[in-house]
């Protein structure tokens, strides 16, 4: 993708310059293509590559039984072939690769977030029902108290697995899933352990490994009484007696706790629930409709904090955009002045904050703003005790200062570029007409500047609205509002509050988090659309 952009950028101003090397190459190919076979061969090879990769993918997907993905790949490949081997459909030839990228990296991600918002995906609802059941059954196994370790050998008779068991007294028994353990004679003993018996084939360790699934399921009843437990072997050479305290009835969709008699039923909430509301964990993933959205807006714990967090989010985003823009603009004007010496060196220095990763700078700032030990209080202010990050109001100022430091180089770059694109003759004409330099700036330069910069300001607003890094790394939302029922702080913005609500402690609620991010997306989108509409009026100046 990037090479295409490079080419376009290079091509535009290239009109009145000497063609670059790449352009000459391109022209050569273009000339050769008109009527020659060479380009067709190249196209054939490339399309062949695409088809070969697709074929390989289809082959592997068929093995994995991923029919949906397979169908999509076949459809896309056929479609791409049809487009590029057709003599017409020129626009499609240009658009197809971009659209494929767009669907893969943008549309798919958006749709998936949207889908997750309608599920209960999160801690306790992590996988499929099948996985939840098998996990519950595995966890419900309890070793029979004080039962010994049995030495076992896995044996096979015409596909039926059995265990050849040597108990601690040296007695040898054999059993299968259907046949409870019974004594056998004539077993071959090695080092006190029965290793083979007539009529059964002993499995080697490799065979045991390759039949792991069957062996994990293998439970040999110790006797006809199920309360005596069943013998299982977790490692293929030692066996232990287990009883299970859960029973699964697939037809009725119920789990019964055998020790208490409680029946847990699948009532469509993605878990087995007892009558008193107690849930068995793990549950599984299901689609829950608008539940997450309803929870997001009706959560009583959020009622108080939501108001001031929303206000602060808007304040944070607006002030950040305004402060970075004006500082950037001021510096751009200053460093654009031809009378200034060493402009280039200054400009490079200006870019530095932009070149350092923002989370790193935020951490450094957090250290410098420490109340008792930080550089600012100790060195710059000579031992003052300003609560930079621990007082609710001062912490907000600190966040804004740090974000200004992080954000102004971007605005500086943008404004510098925009200023340089304003033709000098406009300014000259105004000066000749007798305008003061302030009026020239206010009435001519600024409006012209805003035409190109306004969309970037809107983008910057959207970015700051969700500026998670700065908040998380600098204050982590703190100082905490100890009065609030959720761990929210006075510098939390919406996105960091959502993070705390959806991912508290060990709970990961991806469904709720996705619902929130969709709501925030809608808010930002509405604001941006309104703002873009308004900036259209600016363009009329041109």
């Amino acid at each position: 993708m990037s090479s295409m952009i490079d080419e376009d950028v290079a091509a535009d101003p290239g009109a009145d310059r000497k063609p670059t090397k790449r352009q000459r190459q391109a022209a050569k190919i273009a000339d050769a293509a008109s009527g020659s076979m060479k380009a067709f061969v190249v196209k054939l090879v490339l399309m062949g590559l695409v088809d070969a990769i697709a074929l390989y993918a289809v082959f592997i997907l068929a093995l994995q039984r991923e029919w949906i993905v397979l169908g999509v790949i076949v459809a896309v490949t056929v479609f791409v072939n049809w487009i590029y081997f057709s003599r017409r459909r020129l626009p499609a030839k240009y658009l197809t690769p971009g659209i494929i990228f767009l669907s893969l990296f943008q549309v798919f991600v958006l749709l998936y977030t949207g889908y997750v918002a309608f599920t209960n995906y999160g801690t306790g609802h992590n996988g499929s029902k099948e996985q939840a059941v098998s996990s519950l059954m595995a966890a419900s196994l309890e070793r029979v108290p004080d039962s010994p370790t049995y030495q076992v050998t896995v044996v096979d008779q015409l596909g039926t697995l059995g265990l050849l068991v040597t108990d601690p007294d040296g007695d040898v028994q054999l059993g299968t899933m259907e046949q409870p353990l019974a004594e056998v004679d004539g077993a071959e003993i090695e080092n006190g352990k029965a290793v083979a018996v007539d009529g059964w084939t002993t499995l080697s360790f490799g065979e045991v490994i390759s039949r792991t699934d069957e062996i994990t399921e293998l439970a040999i009843p110790a006797s006809d009484d199920p309360n005596d437990g069943a013998l299982r072997t977790p490692d293929g050479s030692n066996g232990y007696l287990y009883t299970s305290n859960l029973e699964y009835d697939e037809a009725a969709g119920t789990m019964t706790d055998l020790s208490t008699g409680t029946v847990y039923t699948d009532i469509g909430t993605g878990a087995f629930v007892a009558e008193d509301g107690q849930e068995l964990r793990p549950g599984w993933q299901i689609v829950v409709g608008f539940d997450n959205f309803i929870r997001a807006v009706t959560d009583p714990r959020l009622a108080g904090p939501l108001v001031y967090v929303t206000l602060w989010t808007f304040a944070f985003a607006l002030i950040s955009v305004a402060s970075t823009f004006f500082l950037g603009l001021f510096l751009a004007i200053t460093f654009n002045d031809l009378r200034m010496r060493g402009r280039k060196a200054y400009r490079i220095a200006m870019i530095l904050p932009y070149a350092i990763p923002s989370f790193l700078s935020a951490l450094v700032w957090a250290g410098m703003m420490n109340q008792s030990f930080g550089f600012i209080n100790q060195v710059l202010l000579g031992g003052a005790s300003v609560p930079w990050l621990t007082d609710p109001f001062v912490a907000k100022i600190s966040v804004l200062i740090v974000n200004l430091w992080l954000g102004f180089p971007y605005m500086f770059l943008v404004c510098l570029g925009a200023l340089q694109s304003i033709p000098d003759d406009v300014q000259e004409a105004a000066t000749v007409d007798g305008a003061s330099s302030w009026n020239v700036f206010r009435l001519i330069k600024l409006p012209l500047l805003l035409v190109s910069v306004a969309p970037l300001l809107i983008a910057s607003f959207a970015f700051n609205f969700n500026n998670f890094n700065v908040i998380y790394m600098l204050t982590n939302g703190g100082p905490r509002d100890t009065g609030a029922p959720i761990p929210v702080g006075f510098t939390d913005i919406l996105i960091s509050m959502v993070y705390k609500v959806a991912f508290t402690g060990q709970t990961r609620d991806y469904g709720l988090a996705s619902a929130y991010s969709i709501i925030i997306f809608i808010v930002v989108a509405v604001i941006s659309i309104i703002a873009f509409r308004r900036t259209k009026s600016l363009e009329e100046i041109n």
Partner: protein
């Protein structure tokens, strides 16, 4: 130009197909091999990137003896748990992962971990390790190390161990230090490092029953808790000033290295820095503010088997019979300098006085609760302690903490 673009477009399609479509498939393909081949198969083990070398010999030995290929994958400690939880249900996860016992509640709630049968070898591990590896009565983890905090003492400044908290401060001040004791806190507090003092007042977080910690029995707000809160207030900003929320890990370390503090409550992970800094370090038990022992939390590290592993038999065999040996436990000890969980290996490792010091404190340690309810406690605990240190009313703050935690647990 036209043809050039077309060529480019075709190339782009090729890239898309490779990136997008093939990558969907390749993961499955790798996993499909597990248990698929007649002999052997592959065990994929995720380990903390720093311990790859320690596990590799055991993996090689296992491959050679049993014909099962063991693939050790180094992972970033910070993301290993979430990756495991997310990838196991998709079938892309590993067969075994390295982790810590306090993940158990989360792993088990998500159904991604399989029970592990230690058999008769369970008796060969330290009690605290087996307790920590057990969740709701079932063992899920093969423990390899036990980690807890202790007092690091600068033996050049204060040659003798302190007998109580007040004695520690007195001894330090006698040595001419203004603030002789440091512990890492931070704006949101650090309850992990304050817990020993809290237990000395008889206020554990949860009561215990025969299956381990009991989430329905919150002990945090009991009388001992209130006493602890009062004591903490008296040691804070408006009192003796021994606790300070502006001191974070780095500042505490610097104070100890500079010799402005003689006692540092921290874990084995900081011993290396102190020794390298030329400090004559001695490890002491945590001096108690009451007569009762000050028990820190023990964190136990170990290995879990994935519930979706196709190779559970080999995974069990590898962990119990190869990782659970003195040799491998000592290799892991060398890599991390944390007390091994296997008793015999722990004894060998304790020939080092520093490890012996931590092991002595560890004998009093209690496993950090792994129950999901603990998440609700962490959320409110530190911030309440931090505000008490900073001069809020101790009793009211502590009572609100207990009420908030109880409400959060009930809401779940």
């Amino acid at each position: 130009m036209r043809v050039n673009k077309k060529l480019f477009a075709a190339g782009a399609v090729a890239v898309v197909a490779t990136l997008g479509l093939a990558s969907c498939a390749s993961g499955d393909a790798d996993n499909g091999e597990n248990g698929g081949s007649a002999e052997g198969g592959t065990l994929t083990v995720w380990v903390d990137a720093e311990r790859v070398d320690a596990v590799q010999p055991a993996a090689d030995a296992y491959s050679e003896e049993k014909g099962v290929e063991v693939e050790i994958v180094g992972k970033d400690v910070a993301t290993i748990k979430d990756d495991f939880i997310q990838q196991v249900p998709t079938g892309e996860g590993p067969d075994i992962t390295m982790g810590a016992h306090d993940w158990l509640g989360e792993l088990s709630t998500n159904g991604v971990v399989a029970p592990l049968e230690l058999g008769d070898s369970a008796g060969d591990y330290l009690d605290v390790a087996i307790n920590a590896a057990t969740y709701e009565g079932t063992v899920y983890m093969l423990p390899y190390a036990v980690e807890n905090i202790a007092i690091l003492r600068n033996a050049d400044l204060v040659p003798e161990a302190a007998t109580s908290f007040d004695d520690m401060i007195a001894k330090g001040q006698a040595a001419g230090l203004d603030k002789p004791f440091v512990v890492e806190q931070g704006a949101e507090g650090n309850p992990y490092h304050l817990y020993p003092f809290q237990t000395a007042f008889g206020a554990p977080v949860f009561g215990t029953n025969d299956e381990g910690y009991d989430p329905t029995d919150l002990q945090l707000g009991n009388e001992g808790g209130i006493e602890f809160a009062n004591w903490l207030g008296s040691q804070g900003k408006n009192g003796a000033g021994n606790f300070n929320t502006d001191i974070d890990g780095d500042i505490a370390k610097q104070a100890f290295l500079d010799g402005t503090a003689a006692f540092w409550l921290t874990g084995p992970w900081n011993v290396g820095a102190a020794v390298d800094g030329g400090i004559n370090v001695a490890i002491d038990t945590i001096p108690s503010p009451t007569g009762e022992p000050a028990s820190p939390f023990a964190g136990v590290k170990g290995f879990f088997v994935s519930s979706e592993s196709d190779n559970k038999v080999a995974a069990n065999d590898f962990l119990v019979n190869y990782i659970g040996t003195e040799e491998v436990q000592l290799d892991l000890f060398e890599a991390g300098n944390i007390l091994p969980a296997l008793s015999s290996a722990a004894e060998t490792a304790s020939s080092d006085p520093i490890i012996e010091g931590f092991a002595a404190v560890g004998a009093e340690a209690v496993p950090m609760p792994a129950i999901p309810a603990m998440g609700s406690v962490w959320q409110y605990w530190g911030i309440a302690e931090a505000s008490i240190i900073n001069g809020e009313d101790p009793v009211a703050t502590w009572e609100k903490l207990a009420a908030d935690v109880q409400a959060a647990i009930d809401a779940k």
